[in-house]
Symmetry: C2
Subunit: 262 residues, 2 copies
């Protein structure tokens, strides 16, 4: 039987998520009984930083005596772990937003995902208790265990289906990776025209503080929604040496006009 | 001769920019001697809110006795003003980021632009003194006058060429209008999948606070830059009913891969 107040956990991995989860789980009453990392130095560093006695770089030396195993590894390492690890009917959790649960189906019959919908960097861990965690599990029992752990890490836990989780992952790409690329284009164009990128920072900040007050669908402005073809043609001319960026300009402008029309 | 400590100014327009510029110019020693708006009620409201005695809705009643005329009107109203207004050799300033200076060439021989690189809303005027203003002028004399006024409004004034100003306008579209559209897509997709848009707000905020510390070119993450084709195909499949959004996904992913390669 699980003790929801104190679960005994093995952390497999020593990267950003391992650094984030380990102290938070400890602070909330759970016991990290072992750290595994293929890099022995990293296993030791993470263990010692959190007063954890047992650590190893040997997959075969991972204890069977835990309630839960958190696989905090890169997406493409999960498949190899699935071939090598067996924890019978223990709760096994992976942390990869875009990866299906069944990638770890051979490790245990009780599997779940806890995915952090935020970019975690071990050298700058968030202080907030509201970092969103997305939970999915393959059974009610697995869900119960995963939710106990997720709630120990954050007070913003959302349980979803696999399709919903993939959609959230796509949305994270749109609002983080893609918006960042638009900023990077603006930065490069600024450099090409001897302009300081800094001068754009107030309007960048404004764009994203605006969503705290108004839905982005309702606050759309700009030449596309005004159907200001003259300005749009000028902008495309400025991008004449950047075909890929011209394409983005055209497609987002088209999408703004279509999306608002609906 | 201009008195740089106290210029006598007519504000033509009663919208967001007129509401922003009027009190700031007054607070910094300049005198607003008249307000014009085609809507008499709006002219009166702006004048009375700022203790300005003279206001009118009659273009013909605008005094010739000012040092500078600020045309704070919509882009497409400038052409009509150019046909109707004549202020000899007085400083005449328009405020439209994407519009060339010569659109007001018939009004005066001394013309300039003061463009606010920020979205100003009269009901929520910024308190900051760092709202970027972009200045351009058709002569040294016009530039001197425009810079006096711009510096009275903000301590973040940048003088540029027309090409640079257009580029900044394009950049503002990229970092404001286009990023906002990506957020709007994520919001709509969330709704379609019964997910709260709110759960994305921490990562949205993270994206844009990140640029205070790291150049966006250097902080690019996501499936495109990792060349994670499996995840990208899953995301495109999730967008199968939204052709325009699929196109944006493909183009930005391609551009991320090309831009970083360079």
């Amino acid at each position: 039987m699980l003790n929801p107040e104190c679960m005994r956990i093995v952390i497999i991995g020593s990267g950003n998520i391992a650094h984030f989860f380990t102290p938070r789980l400890q602070e909330n009453g759970h016991e990290i009984i072992q750290i595994f990392s293929p890099n022995p130095e990293n296993a030791k560093l993470l263990a010692e930083a959190n007063n954890i006695k047992h650590y190893t770089d040997d997959l075969g030396a991972i204890t069977q005596d835990a309630d839960a195993y958190i696989l905090a590894v890169k997406d493409d390492a999960l498949k190899a772990l699935n071939e090598k690890l067996r924890f019978e009917n223990k709760l096994v959790i992976h942390c990869a937003g875009a990866v299906a649960l069944d990638i770890i189906a051979d490790i245990s019959r009780k599997t779940a995902v806890i995915w952090t919908l935020y970019s975690i960097r071990k050298n700058n861990l968030p202080a907030s208790n509201h970092i969103p965690l997305i939970v999915e599990a393959n059974s009610d029992e697995a869900l119960q265990g995963a939710e106990i752990l997720a709630n120990a890490i954050s007070d913003r836990v959302l349980t979803t289906s696999f399709e919903q989780r993939q959609l959230l992952h796509l949305n994270a790409v749109l609002v983080n990776n893609f918006t960042n690329h638009l900023l990077a284009i603006a930065e490069k164009l600024s450099g090409e025209h001897q302009l300081p990128f800094d001068i754009l920072k107030p309007i960048i900040e404004q764009t994203f503080s605006q969503i705290q007050k108004v839905s982005p669908s309702e606050s759309q402005t700009g030449p596309a929604i005004r159907k200001d073809e003259v300005t749009m043609q000028k902008h495309l001319a400025l991008l004449r040496e950047h075909e890929a960026w011209q394409q983005i300009y055209k497609d987002i402008s088209t999408s703004i006009q279509q999306t608002i029309k609906k």
